[in-house]
Symmetry: C2
């Protein structure tokens, strides 16, 4: 017997038929003797539909009311799933954010779960009830409804697993697990059976959409075992553990890529302390997220070249801010709005010599020019021209034996 948090994403509960199917999955786990808390997303498409409606009213729709609006989506799924479980003979109850309550802090539409009351739900579980909790939402200390950002149902599930001291947290989704690359684009991509939190975190951050990265981060911090698996097949999913429990046979676990990036290079920047801060501080103040930053060694010790990447949609705004910024001096600025970032991720990389070299040689063989490079302990990212994205991902997938 275990205490399990099961999270079902939007496509898993996208229709009434699928909700009935999810009820059967939960029933199976429940009948096997487990205590179950299920966390649900809004039915697929629902959140976008509500956002559309709000945008028709105002592009700058009031954030408090947007949270009231959007939170209705998960409420609907929770009620339908609780009703479906009762229908198949399992005692169940939906618990809304304010009924638990789930306390959050931070801004509307971007809050964080800080605590929740576990007594009532633990009592219900001990009375053989399955608790259904809407993901993605909570209440503030003022008693307002808050939401925790898109994809926030993962964060809810992990927070619940942590606060309820659950034995595991299973993320049910529409794919079989975490893949070595995007299986829709790279047909030879393979499901990964086991992966470390760190690798998963890099993959989520780098664009693998399977799990939200802040949720992985929380799971890592509190050592909560995760499993990503399919709602629609019986196959084993991907287990996510801490690194020491994984026996690495491969240096590289996966290849991720993100499109919609843009690159800016400032040439001949004055090379003295505080310059980078001068450049990035006004960008951060304007909510522009800078991803990679590469500063070349300056040959004359006086000026340097600085390259960084941002989301493509922020390009014009960024150029504008830099041009208006009197605090930074540079000789020239160029930009490229058709770039993508390719990353190889693997906890085994650090102990395997030659990974970097093999990556660069592979790209060279495909005549793909590398525009910028950035590395970390378990990740190696390069910026290339967007048109080469899939060619690069396929090549790297093959080079590192992931096919």
């Amino acid at each position: 017997m275990a205490k399990k948090v099961l999270k079902f994403g939007g496509t898993s509960v996208g229709t009434v038929e699928r909700i009935l199917h999810v009820a059967e999955i939960i029933k199976k786990e429940f009948v096997a003797g487990n205590e179950i808390i299920a966390v649900v997303s809004a039915m697929s498409g629902k959140t976008n539909e509500l956002i559309e409606q709000s945008k028709k009213i105002s592009d700058n729709f009031n954030k408090r009311e947007l949270d009231v609006l959007l939170s209705s989506g998960e409420q609907v799924t929770s009620a339908l799933l609780a009703g479906a479980l009762i229908k198949v003979g399992v005692n169940s109850k939906s618990w809304l954010n304010w009924q638990i309550p789930i306390l959050t802090e931070g801004d509307h539409s971007n809050s964080r779960i800080i605590n929740m009351n576990i007594e009532k739900i633990n009592k219900f579980l001990s009375e053989k009830g399955v608790a259904i909790i809407p993901g993605f939402q909570g209440i503030s200390k003022f008693g307002d409804i808050t939401t925790i950002g898109r994809g926030g149902s993962d964060a809810t599930a992990v927070a619940i697993a942590k606060i309820f001291n659950a034995d595991s947290c299973e993320i049910y989704t529409d794919v079989d697990g975490v893949f070595s690359s995007d299986p829709n684009k790279i047909p030879v991509a393979k499901k990964i059976d086991k992966i470390s939190y760190d690798e998963m975190l890099e993959l989520s951050t780098l664009g693998a959409k399977v799990m939200q990265s802040s949720a992985v981060q929380t799971a890592m911090m509190y050592n909560i075992p995760l499993e990503v698996k399919s709602t629609f097949t019986d196959r084993e999913g991907t287990k996510i553990f801490s690194q020491e429990n994984i026996d690495y046979t491969k240096s590289v676990t996966g290849v991720a890529y993100s499109k919609d990036d843009a690159k800016i290079t400032l040439l001949g920047v004055e090379d003295k302390p505080g310059v980078a801060a001068n450049i990035f501080e006004p960008l951060s103040r304007n909510n522009i997220n800078v991803d990679m930053v590469i500063q070349n060694i300056s040959p004359d010790n006086k000026t340097t070249d600085l390259t960084f990447t941002i989301k493509r949609e922020d390009l014009l705004n960024t150029i504008d801010i830099i041009k208006k910024n009197k605090n930074i001096k540079f000789e020239n600025m160029n930009h490229n709005d058709k770039v993508s970032k390719i990353s190889i991720v693997g906890a085994g990389m650090v102990s395997t010599p030659g990974v970097t070299y093999r990556m660069f040689r592979g790209l060279a063989e495909e005549k793909i020019n590398i525009l910028a490079i950035s590395t970390s302990e378990i990740k190696l990212s390069v910026i290339i021209n967007e048109e080469n994205t899939l060619k690069a991902v396929k090549k790297l997938h093959t080079i590192f034996d992931l096919d």
Copy 2:
């Protein structure tokens, strides 16, 4: 300056464009210096859509969860309307059932509002805010979401007007007001400018769908002035007062009809005390609502004939219950499942001689047979064959100068 409760029905908030239009109506009232609480229904079609979903899961969907499900509809409208008001420059906030809270008692899907906290909202009103409250719902003393029956947003509006001691309660809908008969079926039907609570109550109970009858009843009990008016035109609506404020120029105010009725007659029923109770007690226990009851004078003082009407959908069940009931003796039972009830309503009827006679003569002129008659102080109802419904309503409309 007045404190007003404005209620907007499902068609009034049926699209985002209409919600923006409602925001303009509220803004006008607000700018004129009034304190406004707006009560909203779910967008038209929404509640039915949610009920459909629940029925796909189970015909007997759990009632607690059904209330969680359905209450999301008004929540969505509340958020969108509050956002729309903010967009047009009016300070506004949605207040959900649990945030106020609105306390109810009684069963799920059929509860009654018993109290609500007025402090927070009164403070908000005094700070020049427009409060938006979802109709149709509240919470139980156990902290569960409850709903107060279909059309319950009217009841919420009147309860709020009462508890907040509002000066008026305006019901915005998709027609210009209360009509002398159904304007879709009787083209000569006219809008009534003023009507008493009693008459309105009879009309609502008798099938005029403009306002829910329990809401009219509450308004009458607490003497809350009502006005039914259109969201889509600037025309004056129908004012609903207590009787003493109305100057009657006509004996009959309106003609109502209900279809979907069925009639049962028990012939040769033993005529002794307690017989009627024996018949109707088991029906009530089975939630069968008996409408009209007519007991003919028994010619021999030993047996009598008893006729009553019920909803057509309850006919088979009713017959079954009566046959199985060993406590009642009767010689024969006949039934007619194709009848309708036509009623004339008017507070002036009691003081106008000949109304009854004129009604019967009019129906006779149209060769319409009367199957049963029932009267009250301000109402006269007859049961006729369903096929004659519109012919009867038109005739009575003309006879009583309502065209």
